[in-house]
């Protein structure tokens, strides 16, 4: 008998073997699977090995009949068996067996695969098959080493573990999110640094060789001052950090590196990569989620998912026990009595009032930003030298301050509303989100105004420049001197892209400063105050007000998300932004880890904003989309500055693609691309995508409807079962005298034998009838045919 055939027979025999082995004959998830798996696979393998030996002897005996001994069909079956074994090896870590068992099964499976993989190679393509197998093995080893390497690279694992054990999984989730953002920013930094900044720095023209790369003569005295550098003008402005430094030469250096093309592609690529990563994470989270909001398992989930296994600190554990107890008591209370709607009118009025206040605040902050930006434009027109630090940084400081104080105000206002904490948290998040969004877009509108101003200025400067060059030419002609001008003296066109980049960089730096200062002054000072002034204060500061603060998870996550939105928007104009952000996230991790351990206490009650992790991911996706819009708009619609940047001289930034196609690709490619980018082709393609989205949406709705149906069926089945068992319990309770009669008629019908005819109600005066009923649930009796 062929070994691979033997295995399938063995599988059928395994359950029979299992009965005598089972300790408890009932459904044991590990028991049955484990035993069957072991018996099935092990037994099959042992048999397989014996048969293999027999087979080998047979084969050795008649080598001439080798080809006949293995027919095509058996080859296929063998292949199948080997594939099955391979699958088993790949998924063995998911099996719920004991480790010893797993190791044995693994060894057997690997031996089987090795033995028969060779045999499979007989016949056609033996060498190729062996080669394929060897490459596969090498590939798997490489994958494993790579996984090991990747896991070893993950930073801050021990820090996060410490936070988890002290604060539980919800606070730690912020730090895990921070670490994930750090990873994304590292990749963005790698792209911008490696493909844009380094080529220009190494292979482009050096500083001072052409006008756009030199600090203008007028600014040179102050170019190295710290104040100027902190403001990102002076030498910082005329460097690879900003858009304006880049030259528009089509290729640079001996490598013929196409810098303008690379700049554009990196800009688009960073956003595309971010989209991909965020959507992939969302899909993964959606799989783990398990079904979303469902109120039907309230108590069960409270019982089985409320203890956080990550906790390792006694104080946190005490907190957790207390919060679990409180949570249970609340749920019990809700079960037992219906909460009366007290004075619904007052509540409604207060809520309307609260929303009105919030709306006023939002409108006020929007107007304030607009006003401040206008003022800063006026300052710029009058020359910034006349004004001090406040006027220069007014916009950024005001935005940061608004971001700091308004959420606290929203928090206070939400006290009026009297919502359940989870709903109050959602409102709070929604309002903070609206605040940040409003601020951001007001800022952008103000920026657009400045861009338009600069573009008008361009026309004038262009005109002036032609005059200046003409004068120079005439002058040199008359003096008969060479046509040499120091680049620092050439008049410059305005560069709106660098200006935009500078604004974003300043905003980010301000944001960083504000965050750090808030942590140090807010949390840290409060903790110091409570700790040391407690000795000489009338009431107990630690237990009463103000006490130590809790870590504001949602506020911090939102801040992080918006910061990332800034980066995405600004990195096209200031390639240095990802670098700054990497630095910021790195230091933020250490600072916030220290601050959390030093100044915060674990939460008394934790309410998540939503049941799924995808809530914050969805916000991130939304911000990414919003950040993409301005960038795409400027690439497609606004003509680049004529005097700075890698796209100078072109009508639109994306023309660099057409230029590349024209120069670097063979002629037919440009033709094909030209046809492909024809609106006649693109419109049907878009239509096709819209239709497929509609179709997928419809099928997903269909699936959800069928899931709901199945759920309902399950529910009704459960109810039926309960009713049936209740009836049976009632019946058994009434024939209470002999509840454990083991002799039941094998026919599973309620036989009223012995002809007593006495109904189940009332006491039976005669010998109790042998009635076969399904046993009441409580005692565990011998298995009953039911």
């Amino acid at each position: 008998m062929k070994p691979w055939l033997a295995e399938s027979d063995d599988e059928n025999q395994a359950p029979a073997n299992e009965e005598e082995n089972g300790e408890e004959g009932e459904n044991s998830p590990t028991g049955r699977k484990g035993r069957k798996g072991r018996k099935g696979a092990g037994a099959a393998n042992r048999k397989a090995r014996e048969n293999a030996k027999k087979d080998k002897k047979k084969k050795d005996a008649d080598e001439s009949d080798e080809e006949d001994a293995i027919t095509e069909e058996e080859l296929d079956k063998l292949k199948e068996a080997v594939e099955e074994k391979k699958k088993l090896i790949a998924t063995i870590r998911n099996k719920p067996w004991k480790m010893k068992q797993k190791l044995e099964v693994l060894k057997d499976a690997q031996a089987f695969v090795e033995k028969f993989e060779g045999a499979l190679g007989k016949g056609k393509g033996k060498k190729f098959y062996a080669y394929k197998v060897m490459m596969l093995k090498k590939w798997m080893k490489f994958q494993r080493d790579f996984e090991n390497f990747k896991t070893a690279c993950i930073p801050w694992e021990m820090k996060i573990k410490e936070i988890e054990s002290h604060f539980g999984s919800s606070v730690a989730s912020y730090f895990i999110f921070l670490r994930w953002m750090y990873g994304i920013n590292m990749i963005l930094f790698g792209l911008t640094f490696g493909l844009v900044m380094v080529p220009e720095a190494l292979m482009g023209k050096p500083y001072g060789s052409i006008p756009r790369k030199t600090v203008p003569r007028a600014e040179q005295p102050s170019a190295m001052n710290f104040a100027t550098l902190y403001d990102f003008s002076g030498f910082a402005q005329y460097s690879v950090l900003f858009y304006g430094y880049y030259n528009s030469q089509r290729t640079i250096g001996w490598l013929q590196f196409r810098l303008p093309l690379s700049y554009l592609l990196v800009g688009i690529g960073t956003i595309a990569y971010s989209f991909m990563v965020v959507i992939r994470t969302m899909a993964k989270n959606a799989n783990d989620d398990g079904g979303g909001d469902d109120n039907s398992f309230n108590f069960s989930w409270k019982m089985y998912t409320s203890w956080d296994f990550l906790i390792g600190n006694p104080e946190t554990a005490d907190n957790k026990f207390a919060s679990i107890t409180t949570s249970f008591k609340e749920s019990i209370l809700e079960e037992q009595e219906n909460r009366k709607e007290e004075n619904i009118h007052l509540v409604r009025f207060l809520r309307v009032l609260a929303n009105f206040i919030v709306l006023c605040t939002l409108a006020g902050s929007g107007y304030l930003i607009y006003f401040v930006v206008r003022r800063s434009q006026q300052f710029a027109l009058e020359g910034l030298e006349n004004y001090g630090w406040w006027e220069r940084n007014e916009v950024n400081t005001v935005m940061s301050l608004l971001g700091m104080f308004c959420p606290t105000m929203f928090d206070v206002v939400s006290g009026l509303e009297n919502y359940h904490p989870r709903i109050a948290l959602r409102w709070q998040l929604g309002r903070i989100f609206a605040l940040f969004l409003g601020n951001l877009y007001t800022f952008l509108i103000a920026l657009m105004d400045e861009i338009n101003l600069k573009r008008q200025e361009e026309k004038i400067v262009q005109h002036n420049m032609t005059m200046w060059y003409a004068n120079l030419f005439n002058g040199s002609q008359s003096e008969n001197s060479t046509f040499v001008v120091d680049p620092a003296d050439v008049p410059r066109g305005p560069c709106w892209e660098t200006m935009v980049g500078q604004e974003f960089v300043r905003l980010t730096v301000n944001d960083i400063m504000t965050t750090y200062v808030t942590i140090l002054t807010g949390d840290f000072l409060q903790a110091v105050f409570v700790r040391f002034f407690n000795y000489c204060w009338c009431w107990d500061l630690e237990y009463g007000w103000p006490s130590y603060c809790e870590f504001d998870i949602s506020g911090n996550v939102l801040g992080l998300i918006f910061n990332q939105g800034m980066i995405w928007m600004g990195s096209f104009y200031a390639p240095c932004l990802p670098l700054i952000n990497v630095f910021r996230l790195h230091t933020s991790m250490y600072l916030q880890c220290w601050a959390v351990m030093c100044c915060n206490v674990p939460h008394a009650r934790v309410f998540k904003a939503s049941r799924s992790n995808n809530f914050y991911m969805a916000m991130l996706l939304f911000i990414l989309f919003l950040a993409m819009l301005p960038v795409v708009y400027t690439i497609v619609s606004i003509p680049p500055s004529f005097d700075c940047g890698p796209f100078s001289g072109k009508q639109r930034m994306f023309e660099v693609i057409q230029e590349t196609l024209h120069h670097d690709f063979p002629a037919w490619f440009a033709k094909v691309f030209g046809y492909a980018s024809n609106p006649g082709l693109i419109l049907p393609f878009i239509l096709l995508m819209v239709m497929s989205i509609y179709y997928l949406n419809a099928t997903s709705k269909g699936y959800q409807a069928s899931i709901l149906e199945l759920k309902k069926k399950l529910q009704s089945q459960a109810e039926e079962n309960k009713k049936r068992s209740k009836k049976a319990a009632e019946k058994a309770a009434e024939t209470q005298d002999d509840p454990t009669k083991p002799n039941n008629s094998p026919g599973s019908q309620p036989n009223r034998s012995d002809g007593t005819g006495a109904g189940p109600k009332g006491k039976n005066l005669e010998v109790p009838p042998r009635i076969a009923v399904t046993r009441p649930p409580a005692p565990k009796g011998p298995p009953v045919p039911s």
Partner: protein, 187 residues
């Protein structure tokens, strides 16, 4: 990857990597932790597969488990003899299942084992009561405990026998959004 270590043979490490969710470095680190628990008993050389078991008392004093109200049950569920004595294999297995890479189904199986205090493969009322008392440190009244247990059975019991079989438990826990994040021990 080139680091010479003499605790395990390469085949053993590969086998462990196949059977758990850990990488090579993590397995060596786990051995270090196991060794630290009892340096006199645990050998440094595992190449000949020694049969060394540590008693439950040592394991439940680990900082990761010490505050957990279910620590004894966790260790018992992963031990071969059911008494809580763990060999290194069981030790690795335990942390592998509790790690964040383990899939939901696997965790559900072991969660059921852990919460089944009397190991009869059903979560009956007494199991529920024990769980609840451990969770609340017995701060709830008798009637409250009974009420909660009855509610749980009402919610999760599908076949109407008054106790939770594995199918009921899995059906309930598979929809829980917090299960994966709370049923997780980081080592």
């Amino acid at each position: 990857m080139g680091n010479k270590q003499t605790i395990f043979t390469d085949e053993q490490l590969d086998a462990y990597q196949d059977c758990t969710f850990f990488t090579r470095k993590e397995i060596l680190r786990l051995h270090g932790r196991f060794y630290e628990l009892a340096p006199n008993i645990v050998p440094m050389d595992y190449t000949d597969d020694p049969d060394v078991k540590l008693p439950m008392q040592l394991i439940i004093n680990m900082p990761e488990l010490m505050e957990n109200p279910f620590k004894e049950r966790i260790v018992q569920s992963f031990s071969e003899d059911g008494e809580g004595n763990l060999s290194f294999n069981d030790f690795v297995d335990m942390f592998s299942v509790m790690s964040e890479m383990a899939p939901r189904e696997l965790k559900a199986i072991y969660a059921f084992k852990i919460y089944d205090f009397n190991t009869d493969n059903f979560i009956c009322k007494s199991d529920l009561e024990k769980t609840l008392n451990k969770l609340t440190r017995e701060e709830l009244e008798e009637e409250e405990v009974t009420l909660v247990c009855e509610k749980v059975i009402e919610e999760a019991d599908m076949d109407g026998d008054g106790k939770l079989a594995f199918a009921d438990f899995e059906n309930m826990i598979s929809k829980a959004p917090d299960f994966l994040s709370t049923f997780h021990i980081r080592i």
